[in-house]
């Protein structure tokens, strides 16, 4: 845990750690000495020797000064480390996430990401700013006091030395009980979370089908389970709390008994006995505080673990030295790949895309078309075989060189918050305004802009919600046009568009793909028909390969697919035609 935490401290701040720890140690020492001076001071005063107390008050003053100065120091150093950690860790996490294989990005992993980057980082930076000090004080001060008591009375010291670890153990046991119930409560909360989101998302359909009560039942069940888990959590804390309180009392009883017996036995004078009481009363309090801190410590530990685990997620490996790309061609060479190792999605695919030609990937859903595209962009690495871009294995390039070779136009277009121009400029951040607008014009984005209230300055909103699907696609095509990479990987949108948008997109795509090497997951019949080469995929294999005419003439899977698609295009909504099945 400690090693993990230190690994999370920015390297530049690690030299601060010794100073930080020494400050804390000295602070604890100062406090312990301050408490220990109670014995001689009270002893002297109660014996009627006020003057004899003054030298000890001098010692106390020095101890307090030491404790005060070191407290301030550790606090400032802790703040500095925490602050640096925040920026360092957030940046590191953000950078690291971008190097992970795309397969890592599932709702299960990306959902908690925002919490890791803000919440968990906050917890971890709080360790140095707020946590080490109270915990160290809580444990060290009593220990130092107990040790220091040897000089005053060894028997009382022994009683303290024995009770301190005992109290510590009891509090740990109590926390373990709590931890178990807490995890159960967490799980119940997570389940209830899912039900809540589901309940909100399915409102339309639940209401439309008069099934509100059905959704209610699922949600209410989850909420009740959450309440049950929360209640159990409460009761789980009770024995721990009670036993700890009892243990504190027992420790007190022992101390009181030892001190009083000694006093009455005559081996301890009354003044010393009272001083010992005073010290003892300072002895338990820090321990209790430290025990209170265990929750925060556990939270921070979990956070550190989550951050460490995320940073330990393996990136796509990158070579030390770069290679130079050749002519912009593309080749799949005996490629096998599966998102899960035991389940291959791509099986033994060999496919050659010569420079300057277009290859259309066609096939039923789940046949591996989009996966092939992703492998070409190196969102994942193949399990066997190789993917060559411009004559080199994609794994031999440094990331920036590979990126410069390909433009990708995705099916689900994502726009970032900002203006349309900002979003197009992503394709080439240093492009001039004129170049950005020129790209926009080619993709007919200027037509979209004309109808927007704030023109080019219109904010498109998170995910581009201000634009329609077809419009978003045009922006993403403009982005790729601006980027001007020699190879284009294109995943055609499946969703239906009105012909106007579709025509604009087809024109824009023609500009984008003109003279370039293109691999396209094709849905548009014209795209498929016009490709230089069509690869028909089924079950992760290329089962037919050739141009449109040849494949059609072959009368195989492609020909059947084509016939059905052509038939669907002419579909009309017509009540009369609905009388029976057409096939």
């Amino acid at each position: 845990m400690i090693r993990k935490l230190i690994a999370l401290v920015p390297p530049t701040d690690r030299r601060l750690l010794p100073r930080y720890l020494v400050s804390i140690l000295l602070h604890c020492l100062g406090q312990a000495v301050a408490f220990l001076t109670l014995a001689p001071i009270l002893g002297a005063v109660l014996r009627g020797d006020a003057a004899g107390a003054w030298p000890w008050i001098g010692v106390l003053a020095i101890a307090v000064a030491l404790a005060g100065v070191t407290y301030y120091l550790q606090s400032m150093i802790g703040f500095r480390i925490g602050l640096d950690m925040m920026q360092h860790l957030q940046t590191r996490l953000g950078d690291h996430v971008t190097t992970l294989p795309l397969g890592w990005f599932t709702p299960a992993t990306t959902g908690p990401l925002a919490r890791t980057i803000t919440g968990n980082v906050k917890d971890v930076m709080g360790v140095f700013a707020h946590l080490v000090m109270p915990v160290a004080t809580g444990v060290l001060v009593p220990v130092l006091v107990a040790v220091g008591m040897l000089a005053v009375d060894w028997r009382v010291s022994l009683a303290m030395v024995v009770s301190a670890p005992l109290l510590w153990l009891v509090s740990r046991w109590a926390n373990r009980l709590y931890g178990r119930a807490d995890r159960a409560a967490d799980a119940a909360a997570a389940e209830a979370n899912n039900r809540v989101v589901e309940f909100a998302q399915t409102q339309t359909v639940l209401r439309a089908f008069g099934a509100l009560d059905r959704g209610d039942v699922a949600l209410a069940g989850a909420l009740r389970a959450q309440r049950r888990a929360n209640r159990r959590l409460v009761w789980a804390t009770v024995p721990g709390t009670l036993v700890f309180a009892l243990a504190v009392e027992a420790a007190f009883v022992v101390l009181v008994y030892v001190v009083l017996s000694l006093a009455f036995g005559g081996s301890l004078d009354a003044a010393a006995a009272i001083a010992l009481f005073a010290i003892a009363s300072r002895f338990v309090e820090p321990l209790t505080h430290a025990a209170d801190m265990t929750n925060a410590v556990r939270g921070a530990t979990n956070s550190a673990e989550r951050i460490t685990a995320l940073l330990a997620e393996p990136s796509l490996p990158e070579p030390e030295t770069d290679v130079a790309p050749g002519a912009p061609a593309l080749r799949f060479d005996g490629v096998r790949f599966g998102y899960r190792p035991e389940q291959a999605v791509i099986e033994d695919v060999a496919l050659e895309v010569p420079a300057g030609t277009t290859t259309a990937l066609v096939g039923p859903s789940g046949s591996g078309k989009t996966t092939l595209l992703r492998l070409a962009a190196r969102f994942f690495d193949v399990d066997a075989g190789r993917v060559l871009i411009s004559g080199r294995d994609v794994r031999d390039y440094r990331a920036e060189t590979l990126l410069a070779q390909v433009s990708v136009v995705f099916q689900d277009v994502y726009l970032f918050e900002g203006t349309i121009l900002d979003n197009i400029r992503l394709g080439r951040p240093n492009a001039s305004d004129a170049a950005v607008r020129a790209a926009a014009a080619v993709a007919r984005v200027d037509e979209i802009v004309d109808r927007l209230p704030d023109g080019w300055d219109t904010q498109v909103g998170e995910g581009g919600t201000a634009l329609s699907g077809g419009e978003r696609q045009r922006v993403s095509i403009a982005r790729a046009i601006l980027k001007d990479a020699p190879i284009v990987l294109l995943d055609e949108a499946t969703s239906a568009l009105d012909p106007r948008n579709e025509a604009a997109i087809v024109r824009a795509l023609r500009e984008l793909t003109h003279g370039r090497t293109v691999v396209v997951v094709a849905h548009r019949l014209s795209t498929i028909r016009d490709a230089d080469q069509i690869a028909f995929l089924e079950g992760g294999r290329v089962v037919e390969l050739g141009d449109h005419e040849r494949l059609l003439a072959a009368g195989g899977r492609y020909a059947a697919f084509w016939a059905e698609r052509e038939h669907a295009v002419g579909w009309r909504l017509d009540a009369v035609a609905a009388g029976g099945p057409r096939r």
Binding site: L38, S75, E198, G210
Partner: protein, 615 residues
Amino acid sequence: MSSHAAATAPAPSEPTGRAANRAAVRARKQAVAAARQRILGPVSTALAGASLLQAVASLAAVAPFVLVVETARELLADEPDQGRVWALALWALALLGVRGIASAVALVWSHLTDAEHQFRLRELLARKLTRVPLGWFGEQSSGTVKKALQDDVQTLHYLIAHARLDQVAAITVPLASLGYLLWVDWRLALVLLLPIAGYLLAYARLMADHGEQVIGGYTAWEQRVNASVVEFVDGIQVVRTFGEAGRAHRRFQEAVDGFSTFFAAWAGPMTRLESAVNVLLNPAFLLLAVLAAGVGMVGLGWVEPIVLLPFVFVGLGLGATILTLGYAAQASRQAADAAIRMTALLDAEELPVVPHPEPGIASDPAVAFDRVGFAYRAGRPVLEDVSFALRPGTITALVGPSGSGKSTLAKLLPRFHDVTAGSVRVQGTDVRRLDPAALYRAVGFVFQDVRLIRGSIRENIALGRPEASDAEIEAAARAAQLHERILELPAGYAAEVGVDVRLSGGEAQRLSIARALLADPPILVLDEATAFADPESEAAIQDAIARLVAGRTVLVIAHRLHTIVDVDEILVLDAGRLVERGTHAELHAADGLYRRLWDANEAAMTVLAGEEDVR
């Protein structure tokens, strides 16, 4: 961004700004008070009880030290009474026991109250969700809903279960202690009070300078980082292929850097001051103050030596309890924010339901839109003065340029929103006067975004008619071209959606059609794009839709004009107004907007078809 302004701009210094500021602060305080009352009102009695117990526990925590002082007094006597000493010690221990039990009971009480309250609140909020207009869910992300129902309710936990009790302790313990100490010796008590007063003063200054507004800035920055994380994760493919290799998205980095700059500027000076001031409450420092002053007074003969003991035993613990006040205050602020968000959700406008809905007249299956107007925001009408009727058993198509309001218009029929002018009548009754259940029995819809519920395929199909027989369910699936796909599954109709089977877009679409077929509403609202939702199974979906529309009164939102040339009537919308109506042939001949749309489509189709010539 406002948070940025809050972070960098100094507080407005001119008097008017200050006054406005104060008014804003006052308004917020009132809103917070109202929200707290509403959200926390139900637990106030239970919390008062727990607080009382906590007060008892706090007193029981102070009293033993008083007894220890008395023990010491006895010990110092010339002839200590051993029996009395032991008795006092036992009493002290007994009181400590009382303290332990009372505070444990108080904590359990507050926690159980919290668990119950969380449950009630979540139920209340969930029930609210069933009453807001369906359109509301398009404006709010499901993340917002989750935040209110789970995170915000959870935020209240610390306030209800801990903060109140901590506050009670943080007030009771110092008050009781100080009262006792003042009674023992007021001069020495004042010495002890000095550092505490110094701390409180400094703390008040700290809060005035770095108070609520800046904490608001902190939350805003944190949210900005969160939002940029979500954005960059959602757009990871774009970041990956267009961004700088190995570097996070620029906007994310900006947010991170900005957050850290803000935090340094805010927390830096505060930490400096706080660390200095915290020394004042350190028990070692308080010990020095009390002993130096006390020994001096003893030397001067002002007080008896024994007087020092209460200060040593009781006085030093004051610091720690006062520190908890700060934490409780922060929790209270966070809870106030949560309460305000929850209140906003609870106050969201509901879809009005009339107390005595009319059952509807089954004999008249027509739909009528009568001078319908609608606006999301006042002054920006989306629909104006739209009137038309759907004749029973006919198909009516809505067409128009994008943004003309055709989707909005169609969604008024199943009451995603209520009209702002005019009325929508189903079977002769205003939809607002219909029992919602009756409305949805009469009107079904199939849109592009299909929502499947957790459960088996059978349950999903039978959503509207849970009592349907297996044969009926199978017939619906068969008509929706889904039956054979289901039979391929090992679990068949019992397969759990999302667990045993992941349905493709087209399959989910066909399931939603099967659902509508089984529910069998006489009126149907349909998005034509549904027919082309999944190129892999276009033909199957189209067949299913053809079955679905047969014999019903259908309103279809049309994007591709070719699909609807055969429908009974076409309504042409432009900028929220109904500008043309008729059959395809009539409208084509009329040479109006429809004709222009049609020609534009034709031209586009030519482009699409002619692509090969350019190549």
